[in-house]
Protein backbone atom coordinates (compact mmCIF):
# COMPACT_ATOMS: atom_id res chain seq x y z
CA UNK A 1 0.00 0.00 0.00
CA UNK A 2 3.00 2.22 -0.20
CA UNK A 3 3.93 3.87 -3.43
CA UNK A 4 7.44 4.18 -4.80
CA UNK A 5 8.58 7.76 -5.21
CA UNK A 6 11.76 9.06 -6.83
CA UNK A 7 13.48 12.10 -5.32
CA UNK A 8 16.28 13.96 -7.08
CA UNK A 9 18.65 16.56 -5.64
CA UNK A 10 18.95 19.56 -7.94
CA UNK A 11 21.09 22.63 -7.67
CA UNK A 12 19.06 25.77 -8.13
CA UNK A 13 20.43 26.73 -11.54
CA UNK A 14 19.11 26.84 -15.08
CA UNK A 15 18.90 23.63 -17.07
CA UNK A 16 18.97 21.09 -14.25
CA UNK A 17 15.30 20.16 -14.48
CA UNK A 18 15.61 20.05 -18.26
CA UNK A 19 18.43 17.53 -17.88
CA UNK A 20 16.29 15.28 -15.65
CA UNK A 21 13.43 15.51 -18.14
CA UNK A 22 15.78 14.65 -21.00
CA UNK A 23 17.09 11.53 -19.23
CA UNK A 24 13.52 10.41 -18.53
CA UNK A 25 12.46 11.05 -22.12
CA UNK A 26 15.44 9.16 -23.51
CA UNK A 27 14.47 6.17 -21.38
CA UNK A 28 10.75 6.43 -22.15
CA UNK A 29 9.79 6.98 -18.52
CA UNK A 30 6.45 8.64 -17.98
CA UNK A 31 5.80 10.96 -15.03
CA UNK A 32 2.48 10.45 -13.25
CA UNK A 33 2.80 13.26 -10.70
CA UNK A 34 5.56 15.60 -9.61
CA UNK A 35 6.40 18.35 -7.20
CA UNK A 36 9.46 20.47 -6.49
CA UNK A 37 10.44 21.80 -3.09
CA UNK A 38 12.96 24.59 -3.43
CA UNK A 39 15.28 26.74 -1.35
CA UNK A 40 17.56 29.54 -2.58
CA UNK A 41 20.40 27.07 -3.23
CA UNK A 42 18.85 23.75 -4.12
CA UNK A 43 15.63 21.95 -4.87
CA UNK A 44 14.23 18.48 -4.41
CA UNK A 45 12.24 17.03 -7.27
CA UNK A 46 9.81 14.32 -6.18
CA UNK A 47 8.01 12.20 -8.74
CA UNK A 48 5.72 9.25 -9.18
CA UNK A 49 6.70 7.52 -12.43
CA UNK A 50 5.58 4.43 -14.33
CA UNK A 51 8.97 2.71 -13.93
CA UNK A 52 10.54 3.85 -10.62
CA UNK A 53 13.36 1.29 -10.49
CA UNK A 54 14.48 2.14 -14.00
CA UNK A 55 14.15 5.88 -13.35
CA UNK A 56 16.35 5.53 -10.27
CA UNK A 57 18.96 3.61 -12.25
CA UNK A 58 19.14 5.90 -15.30
CA UNK A 59 19.16 9.14 -13.27
CA UNK A 60 21.94 7.77 -11.08
CA UNK A 61 23.88 6.80 -14.17
CA UNK A 62 23.42 10.36 -15.49
CA UNK A 63 25.18 11.63 -12.36
CA UNK A 64 22.23 12.76 -10.25
CA UNK A 65 21.82 12.11 -6.54
CA UNK A 66 18.63 10.06 -6.40
CA UNK A 67 16.62 8.41 -3.66
CA UNK A 68 13.74 5.99 -3.86
CA UNK A 69 11.33 6.07 -0.96
CA UNK A 70 7.66 5.54 -0.25
CA UNK A 71 4.59 7.73 0.01
CA UNK A 72 0.97 6.88 0.76
CA UNK A 73 -1.58 7.57 -2.01
CA UNK A 74 -5.11 8.23 -0.79
CA UNK A 75 -8.00 8.21 -3.22
CA UNK A 76 -10.30 11.12 -2.55
CA UNK A 77 -13.38 12.66 -4.12
CA UNK A 78 -12.58 15.69 -6.29
CA UNK A 79 -14.58 18.25 -4.33
CA UNK A 80 -14.04 21.05 -1.85
CA UNK A 81 -13.37 20.19 1.77
CA UNK A 82 -11.73 16.80 1.25
CA UNK A 83 -8.22 18.04 2.02
CA UNK A 84 -9.56 19.30 5.31
CA UNK A 85 -11.07 15.87 6.11
CA UNK A 86 -7.72 14.17 5.48
CA UNK A 87 -5.69 16.72 7.43
CA UNK A 88 -8.18 16.66 10.27
CA UNK A 89 -7.84 12.87 10.49
CA UNK A 90 -4.02 13.13 10.47
CA UNK A 91 -4.16 15.77 13.16
CA UNK A 92 -6.53 13.77 15.35
CA UNK A 93 -4.48 10.60 15.08
CA UNK A 94 -1.12 12.29 15.56
CA UNK A 95 0.15 11.63 12.04
CA UNK A 96 2.71 14.23 11.06
CA UNK A 97 2.64 15.00 7.31
CA UNK A 98 6.13 15.71 6.03
CA UNK A 99 4.84 16.89 2.66
CA UNK A 100 2.01 16.25 0.24
CA UNK A 101 1.01 16.79 -3.39
CA UNK A 102 -1.90 15.71 -5.49
CA UNK A 103 -3.07 14.52 -8.84
CA UNK A 104 -6.56 15.00 -10.32
CA UNK A 105 -8.10 12.33 -12.51
CA UNK A 106 -10.38 14.14 -14.93
CA UNK A 107 -12.11 10.99 -16.13
CA UNK A 108 -13.30 9.68 -12.77
CA UNK A 109 -13.91 12.83 -10.69
CA UNK A 110 -11.37 11.50 -8.28
CA UNK A 111 -8.13 12.84 -7.00
CA UNK A 112 -5.14 11.15 -5.47
CA UNK A 113 -3.36 12.77 -2.57
CA UNK A 114 0.22 11.61 -2.10
CA UNK A 115 1.44 12.02 1.46
CA UNK A 116 4.83 11.45 3.01
CA UNK A 117 4.82 10.36 6.65
CA UNK A 118 7.60 9.54 9.05
CA UNK A 119 5.75 6.31 9.80
CA UNK A 120 3.97 5.27 6.57
CA UNK A 121 2.80 1.91 7.98
CA UNK A 122 0.92 3.59 10.80
CA UNK A 123 -0.61 6.00 8.28
CA UNK A 124 -1.76 3.12 6.06
CA UNK A 125 -3.46 1.46 9.04
CA UNK A 126 -5.23 4.64 10.09
CA UNK A 127 -6.47 5.48 6.58
CA UNK A 128 -7.74 1.96 6.02
CA UNK A 129 -9.48 1.84 9.37
CA UNK A 130 -11.16 5.14 8.50
CA UNK A 131 -12.53 3.68 5.26
CA UNK A 132 -10.26 5.35 2.70
CA UNK A 133 -9.15 3.56 -0.45
CA UNK A 134 -5.40 3.57 -0.82
CA UNK A 135 -3.68 3.43 -4.15
CA UNK A 136 -1.56 0.33 -4.76
CA UNK A 137 1.92 0.66 -6.17
CA UNK A 138 0.92 -1.12 -9.42
CA UNK A 139 -1.99 1.30 -9.84
CA UNK A 140 0.22 4.33 -9.30
CA UNK A 141 2.49 3.17 -12.10
CA UNK A 142 -0.48 3.05 -14.47
CA UNK A 143 -2.18 6.31 -13.49
Amino acid sequence: MQIQQISVFLENKPGRLAHVAEVLRDNKINIRALTIADTSDFGILRMIVNKPEQAHEVLKRAGFTVKQNVVVGVEIADREGVLFEIMHLCDERGLNVEYTYSFVEQSSNKAILFLRFEDPEKAVEIFRASGYTLLRDEEARKL
Binding site: Q5, T39, D41, F42, K60, G63, F64, T65, K67, R116
Partner: protein, 58 residues
Amino acid sequence: MTDELFSDEIKNLENKEREIEAKLASALLVHAKVKLVEPKGIPRSEGKAKRIVDKRQV
Protein backbone atom coordinates in the same frame (compact mmCIF):
# COMPACT_ATOMS: atom_id res chain seq x y z
CA MET B 1 25.61 15.74 -2.28
CA THR B 2 26.09 12.01 -2.06
CA ASP B 3 23.39 9.33 -1.97
CA GLU B 4 24.23 8.62 1.69
CA LEU B 5 23.75 12.25 2.75
CA PHE B 6 20.70 12.90 0.62
CA SER B 7 17.34 13.15 2.34
CA ASP B 8 14.30 14.18 0.37
CA GLU B 9 13.21 16.55 3.12
CA ILE B 10 14.36 20.16 2.95
CA LYS B 11 14.70 20.50 6.71
CA ASN B 12 17.18 17.61 6.90
CA LEU B 13 19.35 19.07 4.14
CA GLU B 14 19.29 22.53 5.71
CA ASN B 15 20.25 21.00 9.06
CA LYS B 16 23.14 19.28 7.30
CA GLU B 17 24.35 22.64 5.93
CA ARG B 18 24.21 24.18 9.42
CA GLU B 19 26.02 21.18 10.90
CA ILE B 20 28.89 21.48 8.40
CA GLU B 21 29.05 25.25 8.97
CA ALA B 22 29.31 24.70 12.73
CA LYS B 23 32.08 22.11 12.30
CA LEU B 24 34.02 24.41 9.98
CA ALA B 25 33.60 27.33 12.36
CA SER B 26 34.88 25.33 15.32
CA ALA B 27 37.87 23.96 13.40
CA LEU B 28 38.83 27.11 11.47
CA LEU B 29 37.46 29.84 13.72
CA VAL B 30 35.93 31.57 10.71
CA HIS B 31 32.35 31.28 9.58
CA ALA B 32 31.80 30.01 6.05
CA LYS B 33 28.46 29.67 4.32
CA VAL B 34 28.00 26.10 3.15
CA LYS B 35 26.09 25.40 -0.04
CA LEU B 36 25.16 21.87 -1.06
CA VAL B 37 25.92 21.06 -4.70
CA GLU B 38 25.31 18.16 -7.05
CA PRO B 39 27.99 15.49 -7.56
CA LYS B 40 30.92 16.96 -9.53
CA GLY B 41 29.42 20.41 -8.90
CA ILE B 42 32.65 21.85 -7.53
CA PRO B 43 35.04 22.85 -10.33
CA ARG B 44 38.48 21.30 -10.22
CA SER B 45 41.40 23.58 -9.55
CA GLU B 46 42.55 25.23 -12.76
CA GLY B 47 46.29 25.28 -12.45
CA LYS B 48 47.95 27.44 -9.83
CA ALA B 49 45.98 29.34 -7.24
CA LYS B 50 45.83 33.06 -8.02
CA ARG B 51 46.50 34.75 -4.73
CA ILE B 52 47.64 38.20 -5.84
CA VAL B 53 45.72 40.49 -8.12
CA ASP B 54 48.03 43.11 -9.55
CA LYS B 55 46.11 46.38 -9.75
CA ARG B 56 49.14 48.59 -10.26
CA GLN B 57 49.12 50.83 -13.28
CA VAL B 58 52.68 50.73 -14.49
